[in-house]
């Protein structure tokens, strides 16, 4: 490098440009700054992702300690696994129910909290408080409340209603796990929506009032379009999050009754770690990955059509 430069016009002071130019030093700094994260991602995400695909092509018998290449056999099993069909159905109901309920409740709460009312900060903190309550503690107390002779049925009985055995019947078990999860985390989306609502310029509402638009129309034509980027973002986070829900199922229903609340992550866990089917468990992991990737990609594509406004 230095030699090549000497053939050019040499600067007056005769100093060849140093190898460590400003740009080179900055590049080095950049690499050093990202190195821990990059190495971490390779070690704990990309290599495992490669491995999970490799495992999915094998039959892995833990007891006999055999690891045989079987090609697409696990994938054929996915297609033939009738339980899996039920699992995917439960996953869909769980995720759709969770997202719809979570986003609409979050939006409602955000609109309420956006009103000029005294003591609104206290309400905001209380609605948010389950987010900071330990997840399993929250789930345990709900499990306790939802027992056949638990607090909820006790209160229902006081007004003369005999409640179901919430966690032991198909439909109510699913409703229960959804609702418990919604109340736990809706505070996060609520705060994001609230911030978005407060980001809508006041002048727009004033202009709309001068134009004579009634409140509900202001909400539909001004508020919703302007907070649509937040709606999209929260829906992506919530959907991907719903596919990761595990503790609640494990504590409340263990996937039951039957398979009615066995979502994909729980099924994966059972197959891999309870039944030691690591090969098939890995195939289910790939399925989970594909679902997450497709959903994220689809929502990203919808950005252009649904999001009316972005800065």
């Amino acid at each position: 490098m230095a030699v090549a430069h000497q053939h050019h016009e040499t600067p007056k002071a005769g100093t060849p440009p140093p190898f460590w130019t400003i740009a080179r030093r900055d590049s080095l700094a950049g690499f050093l700054f990202i190195a821990p994260q990059l190495i971490g991602i390779i070690t704990f995400v990309l290599v495992p992702l490669g491995l999970v695909f490799w495992y999915s092509l094998h039959e892995w018998n833990v007891l006999a300690n055999t690891f045989t290449f079987t090609g697409s056999q696990n994938y054929r099993m996915v297609l033939e696994d009738t339980n899996l069909l039920e699992v995917l159905g439960a996953t869909t109901i769980f995720s759709v129910g969770l997202v719809v309920l979570n986003l609409s409740l979050a939006l409602l709460l955000a609109v309420l909290l956006n009103q000029k009312l005294a003591g609104i900060a206290v309400f905001r903190a209380l609605f948010f408080s389950p987010v900071v309550v330990s997840l399993v503690a929250w789930t345990i107390v709900w499990g306790f409340l939802l027992q056949k002779n638990g607090g909820i049925n006790g209160m229902l009985l006081m007004v003369g209603i005999e409640g179901p055995n919430w966690l032991r019947e198909d439909v109510t078990a699913m409703i229960s796990v959804i609702v418990v999860q919604v109340f736990k985390n809706v505070g996060l989306n609520m705060i994001l929506f609230l911030a978005a609502l407060q980001g809508v310029p006041k002048e727009l509402y004033e202009a709309a009032r001068i134009d004579g638009a009634p409140a509900f129309k202001q909400f539909r034509r001004i508020t919703l379009p302007l907070i649509s980027p937040t709606i999209l973002l929260t829906s992506i986070i919530t959907i991907v999050g719903s596919l990761q829900v595990f503790a609640q199922i494990a504590v409340l229903t263990q996937g039951g009754p039957g398979l009615s609340t066995t979502v994909l992550v729980y099924y994966l866990y059972q197959q891999a770690f309870q039944f030691d089917y690591f090969g098939y468990g890995s195939t289910l992991s790939i399925l989970l990955f594909v679902i997450v990737a497709v959903l994220t990609f689809a929502q990203w594509q919808m950005r252009k059509r649904i999001v009316f406004y972005e800065n």
């Binding site: 700094a29 999970v52 609605f127 107390v141 306790f144 595990f246």
Partner: protein, 280 residues
């Protein structure tokens, strides 16, 4: 939206919010009060919203049946280490992606963002095998290393990058003229200004680690290694049914400290989250 409300509407809104609050607040109340009721009262009818009798021995059983202090410590120190580690790794990476021009930065950023698409549930099987080979199963290493370096930290890196992008470039240029190198600019200028963003991602990193459930039950097998979420579910009778009063007491001990911190610092929790570029 923000117009002055009529008194009747005000009352209606307060009423609506109070009703909506029930499922958010009542479970915590029920958990705390039931944990101090004698076992005979916890399923009493009509339900006792305020305990009639007290039985504090439940709390001593929490500590007798399991090494609960040890488990508490496990959860606390793991969450603390994960939080500090994630702050270091992610603020550095986020800063570099936002501020330093280096070759392939965009490509590397896309690779790192892939982590967002791959929740750790997807890779739990190979991670288990890897840690098994490394002799780290039934140690806390997986619960520390994976969150700091793996998928969970990617989100933090992304949030930090979004924050650092908004820092005025002239501030750093002034620092360069003032004689600072890259690392000092990061330490003395960028990082101090990122305090609010760091504080709120720290809160959520801590809670994420504090709440982990799948990873502990996959990786840990002896009671003295357990973390709290896992330990809570272990208070069961001979038939595997939950010992409700003890579970509730342990749950109260788990939830209350964080709740108290939250009550003291709720403004930072809530507003930090709202203003930290999570908006996209």
């Amino acid at each position: 939206m923000k117009t002055d409300l009529s008194p009747r509407l005000r009352v209606a809104l307060y009423g609506l919010m109070c009703v909506l609050l029930i499922p958010f607040v009542f479970p915590t109340w029920w958990m705390v009060t039931s944990s101090i009721k004698p076992i005979s009262d916890i399923f009493a009818f009509p339900p006792q919203l305020i305990p009639q009798n007290y039985d504090w021995t439940t709390y001593s059983k929490v500590f007798e049946l399991q090494p609960f202090v040890q488990q508490y410590w496990n959860s606390a120190y793991i969450a603390a280490v994960v939080t500090i580690g994630t702050m270091v790794v992610s603020s550095m990476a986020g800063y570099a992606f936002a501020r330093i021009r280096f070759p392939y930065a965009d490509t590397i950023f896309m690779i790192v963002l892939l982590g967002l698409l791959i929740p750790s549930e997807v890779t739990i099987v190979p991670l288990f095998q890897m840690f098994l080979k490394a002799g780290m199963v039934n140690t806390h290493w997986p619960l520390i290393l994976v969150p700091i370096f793996g998928a969970p930290s990617v989100f933090v890196t992304f949030v930090m990058r979004q924050f650092f992008v908004t820092l005025p470039a002239e501030l750093e240029e002034a620092a360069r003229v003032d004689g600072l190198g890259r690392f000092k600019i990061f330490r003395k200028i960028a990082l101090p200004l990122a305090k609010p963003a760091l504080a709120s991602v720290a809160i959520f990193t801590f809670l994420h680690s504090w709440n982990l459930f799948l990873e502990p039950i996959v990786f840990l097998s002896s009671a003295d290694k357990f973390t709290l979420p896992q330990a809570l579910t272990q208070y069961t009778d001979a038939y595997g049914g939950p010992m409700w009063n003890i579970q509730l007491a342990a749950a109260t001990l788990t939830a209350l400290p964080v709740l108290i911190v939250f009550i003291i610092a709720q403004k930072q929790f809530v507003e930090g989250l709202a203003h930290t570029g999570l908006k996209g």
